[in-house]
Subunit: 181 residues, 2 copies
């Protein structure tokens, strides 16, 4: 995204490498304020119940109508775990407790880093929300694999089910998956 | 940081909760552009050589004159590993290869998430840079513990040396430390 105007004085900016810097930044032509753009963190949960995982059909852009795990942008003042739990509440109306950190995925082309935590649904209920038009539990074979909204989520779900099938990985003994896309 | 003026049209903003949102954002009073502020990622390396770790004395603000590991803000287009290696190059002039992810620290009060990777210095050289006025290898007992620039770095270094002393943790067998401050 372009920073056309200075956030501090409203003057126009120019794209240049500031003194003592190695990257191009939007710098104010009036007050010289430097604007930094940095990657954002997406946090969410692989909510499971026995051999099934919970997916939400997106009621919002982008990728409306496709399925994903509850996840979204981390906010200021949160921890990654807080953010994953909040997104699960907002998207699936579940008051979840996050478990083990399952995957960290780097998406440098999108300027994003994904954190996905495992979370046991247990006997908790879930329900549709303004962000999710449909919510359901899917076993591996029932997942609409061609209708998963995000490549990184599809990859993490694949690794999750591979882990379940691996005799060495119980749900409590998953190793952290680090993936660079 | 306040967003006083819109980045897209230069008009004044107001702080309010947009429709379909749960958080206060700076919203343009003219074009309604919404400005999001999100946590930033700091990436760096615990560079080790045998039983010592490499520390840099900061030549720049903040915490100028105090010691830290090479680390800094991740940039757009990078992976967390790329960022950790670049910062090590910029601050200590080492062309390092990152190893195992050692710690992820959440600092919600600072809106930051820290990634620290282990990295073996081997026979590589290091040298002072515009960002580091002094660079040295320290054993645990020689580290200037009261002059470490950042609390999260002190905590990770403490855990690193505890791990070394633990018979169950060799340098290649460190577990990931997840810490929320």
């Amino acid at each position: 995204m372009k920073i056309k105007f200075c956030t501090q004085c409203g003057s126009t900016t120019e794209l240049k490498v500031p003194v003592d810097d190695n990257f191009e930044r939007y710098v104010c032509t009036n007050c010289a304020h430097t604007h930094y753009l940095n990657p954002r963190i997406v946090c969410g949960c692989i909510v499971y119940k026995e051999d099934k995982v919970l997916l939400c059909k997106r009621a919002i852009k982008p990728r409306m109508g496709l399925w994903t795990v509850p996840a979204g942008f981390m906010e200021n003042g949160e921890t990654t775990r807080n953010a994953a739990a909040r997104e699960t509440q907002e998207e699936a109306n579940i008051n979840i407790t996050t478990g083990k950190l399952f995957s960290i995925s780097n998406l440098p082309h999108a300027n994003q880093v994904y954190f996905l935590y495992l979370a046991d649904l247990g006997d908790k209920s879930y329900s549709v929300t303004p962000e999710s038009s449909e919510i359901a539990l899917f076993s591996k074979d029932d997942i609409p694999w061609d209708e998963i909204a995000f490549h990184t989520v599809k990859s993490s779900l694949t690794k999750y089910f591979e882990g379940l099938e691996d005799n060495h990985e119980s749900k409590k003994n998953f190793k952290l998956h680090e993936v660079d896309f």
